[in-house]
Symmetry: C2
Subunit: 506 residues, 2 copies
């Protein structure tokens, strides 16, 4: 079939037109979802859900139109004649499309129905510490996820398929290796920390802190981190999150506790890291499927980078203390940067993932990964989960799990059909450590930037090597390009060893 | 052509499906527009405009689809078999559609281009008091509006066509009668007020008022007015506005001035009146074209009802004073309700429409109406406007117009192609007075409700007679149903006479 320049141009115009419609729907649905949890009045919930469902359906129908399949195939066949951006768009759109078209709409609707019910049951089960009521729903979710995997990737290992779905290019072999390195490092290191019996004081960050002043501090911290405040909306929600409508419109939220000034500082640094990534994507990608971060793990890599590698570093403690003193001069008058550093880095094995410290956090993920693997591969059912959970918390973290509320019922992910998603959180942490080493090797004065509070060199390197590419490059390609080699968890484990042996004098 | 029940049902399903898509787009575009002026970061402007344009285009394309014309015709032919709501939907959708399809897209685009440029030129002209630079744009806008009228209603008087466009059922004959009644009442009454030389004191509402406390007061006032706070978001903007995404999600905004506590109270009462109307429409209309207020004038009728007929009444001064004392106890300690009533009702001929008092306000509208009429009917060009403006401000309001900035350049409406819109503001005021008399005649204890601060009987009557119907009934039908007869401006002029003769002892 001959494809003249004229028909190629027509196809490119059709591609641009498709992208513009998908952009408008993305802008609307991201906005509606974000405002939903921040400013919408309580009674708006059902109407919002109805509008969202229609807009999402329209967007899916447009992408799933058989004519789009033909269009993408014709463009793929002429990939060498396309500019790099259009070639990447074709690749990403074809991938986004294949995820949707392989599942018949009726089956998709059934999963939505099941997870809606499962989330409802989970919420009540968590409140009542009642695993038994949630148990059948988890088994049903696992069944549907196996079935979807078979529809999408017939014959493939279902957990591999879902891991790849949530983080392109990963599978069990990849994560088995990664998590065994993590366990080999963290489990014995944590045992040493606990055994040593020393614990830094948190006294310097304890007290009562005016809420309005904490929100002023939040803006100071966002500015210190280097977010573009002209392209940012900061708001308050129960659970902090980030969304990027475009690189020019990023929403981050925090949550202020009157008795804990540090909690929201790290929420802002974390969400701000996500926000920097979204703001740092090439502006020309805003109207295309290349907009936004490339994956969950790479996004978490950026948020954890600013929360932990920058925010909990010894060098950054000086500008951070200055920011705290700016809003709470009395409370922080006698505090030294080193005291602040220690107070923000206390290690304590605990039951709740979202409250875990930097060292124990990955163990919470390892446990979820290992249980998901058994569930999806049919080696365990939901009835086995509380026992598996208790065994692992005992052997990895050294603690007992008194209730399922503080155990396998603590997270909503499984009720929502997100099995295979947890591992990306831990992978993001490890990406961050490797990026840090690569940045320093490339000549960035990381410690100097943190100490001075001027993080521009750090942001510039990340923007150049990661952020600007949006979804045009997958994580593995970005890591290879930025770090000169494939992913290597050694950067992460060496960082943890160095940092926490230092703090605990081990 | 035989139309079986089965094909009628198919057509109704198609109608519901169309409405659901239009609903989702309305929800998204109303939201995007409202958030735009309240919380969006400055750099988001262009991206927001781009998304909005695409979503609006999608919505228009869906409604203008020739298949929809056929669908609506088939349903109109079977109107007697439809339930009342579906029959109203068909009527309103056909009207909305005809407004769009009669103007070719290229001509629509030209008007958008012209008004975008005209608004830009107007902004600069207003700042520089430079009528000459805006003059050619106004002539061009008038030409395009004449042309559009010819496309929509060939052979019709163009100003009649535009008046009907902005307020269904009105024309010059209607407004000529209305405005001559207004002038006959207000011009001599105002002259008497000015001549009497008495002026109530504003001392009791002057001072400095903490902004945060004023926002708390705004919520108190919204509650006092009877807005459902569970279906309301209150925010701050330069120019207050109201939008209703659905009856369950209404946005009102205010603007706080540190040296003027009353300004935002009346902004909230005014926007809150719009908000009550939006919240009061039948919930089942949310997902249809019957959602929201029926017209600009009827909307203004509700906002002015709560701003003026309730909010500036002598009886409501007591609960209003109590609300003011709740947040500013020291400032309002020695004030009496009567002093507050007088302070909020001072009459002063002035140059700026948006700052005008209740008595002089309609004269600002009359002047714009008379000049629009001359322009569209070709009896004047833009070059004549400053002279026409000065003559009329002198003869109706008794004041000189020192600059065009404070004269014909003060409002953005003409630059935006909104000739024919101003009259709806004045008509709304007059609707309110007629509704008030009807309500009292029907047995509502209006003065008692205002005096007690419990406005439920007032809201219930308006909800029953006006609000619940949304767009299912036009203004004239609503007035006839609620008041037992056609529109009669006498209610309005008698109200003005009574109230201001009382205040000024005339």
């Amino acid at each position: 079939m001959a494809n003249t320049d004229a028909t190629l141009q027509q196809d490119l115009d059709a591609l641009d037109d498709l992208e513009m419609h998908l952009y408008a729907h993305r802008y609307a649905t991201s906005g509606i979802t974000s405002y939903g949890s921040t400013i919408d009045p309580p009674k708006a919930t059902a109407d919002r859900g109805r509008a969202l469902a229609v807009l999402q359906q329209e967007s899916q129908e447009r992408l799933c139109d058989p004519a789009v399949s033909e269009l993408l195939k014709r463009l793929e066949a002429h990939a060498d004649e396309l500019d790099a951006d259009h070639a990447a768009q074709v690749r990403i759109l074809a991938r986004d499309r294949s995820i949707l078209v392989d599942i018949p709409p009726a089956e998709q609707a059934k999963l939505v129905e099941l997870t809606t019910e499962a989330e409802h049951v989970w919420r009540k089960a968590k409140a009542a510490d009642d695993w038994a009521s949630f148990e059948p729903y988890l088994d049903r979710v696992v069944d549907v996820m196996r079935h979807f995997s078979e529809l999408r990737s017939p014959g493939a290992d279902p957990y591999d398929a879902w891991l790849d779905y949530f983080e392109h290019g990963t599978n069990q072999q990849f994560y088995d290796t990664f998590f065994s390195q993590v366990k080999d490092c963290v489990v014995p290191l944590l045992a040493e920390v606990v055994a040593c019996g020393r614990q830094p004081s948190r006294a310097c960050i304890e007290g009562s802190f005016d809420r309005a002043a904490q929100w002023s501090l939040a803006r100071d911290v966002a500015k210190l981190e280097g977010l573009d405040l002209g392209a940012l909306w900061i708001s308050s929600t129960e659970h902090p999150f980030t969304d990027g409508l475009t690189s020019n419109y990023v929403i981050i939220t925090g949550h202020v506790h009157e008795d804990d000034v540090i909690s929201n500082v790290y929420s802002i640094l974390h969400e701000g890291g996500h926000g920097l990534y979204e703001q740092g994507v090439r502006a020309s990608y805003n109207y295309t499927s290349l907009k936004g971060g490339t994956s969950s793990a790479m996004h978490e890599g950026q948020s954890r980078f600013f929360e932990n590698y920058v925010g909990r570093s010894e060098t950054f403690a000086a500008p951070l203390l200055e920011a705290l003193r700016g809003r709470f001069p009395r409370q922080f008058a006698g505090v030294t940067p080193h005291e602040l550093y220690l107070a923000c880095n206390r290690v304590e094995p605990s039951l709740i993932r979202t409250e875990a410290d930097e060292l124990t956090y990955p163990l919470h993920i390892v446990i979820r990964y290992e249980i998901e693997q058994l569930l999806i591969n049919g080696e365990a059912t939901a009835a086995d989960v509380p026992g598996l959970w208790a065994d692992r918390y005992r052997s990895y973290l050294g603690i007992d799990v008194p209730t399922n509320t503080e155990g396998a019922l603590q997270d909503t992910h499984w009720a929502s059909g997100l099995l295979g998603y947890f591992p990306t959180y831990a992978l993001g942490n490890a990406f961050g450590a490797q990026l840090l080493d690569a940045m320093v090797a490339a000549g960035v004065d990381f410690d100097g930037a943190c100490a001075s509070g001027d993080l521009a060199p750090v942001r510039d390197w990340l923007r150049t090597n990661i952020w600007q590419y949006g979804r045009a490059k997958d994580s593995d390609e970005l890591i290879a390009g930025a770090c000169g080699g494939p992913f290597d968890a050694g950067h992460y484990t060496r960082y943890l060893e160095r940092k926490f042996r230092g703090i605990y004098g081990l």
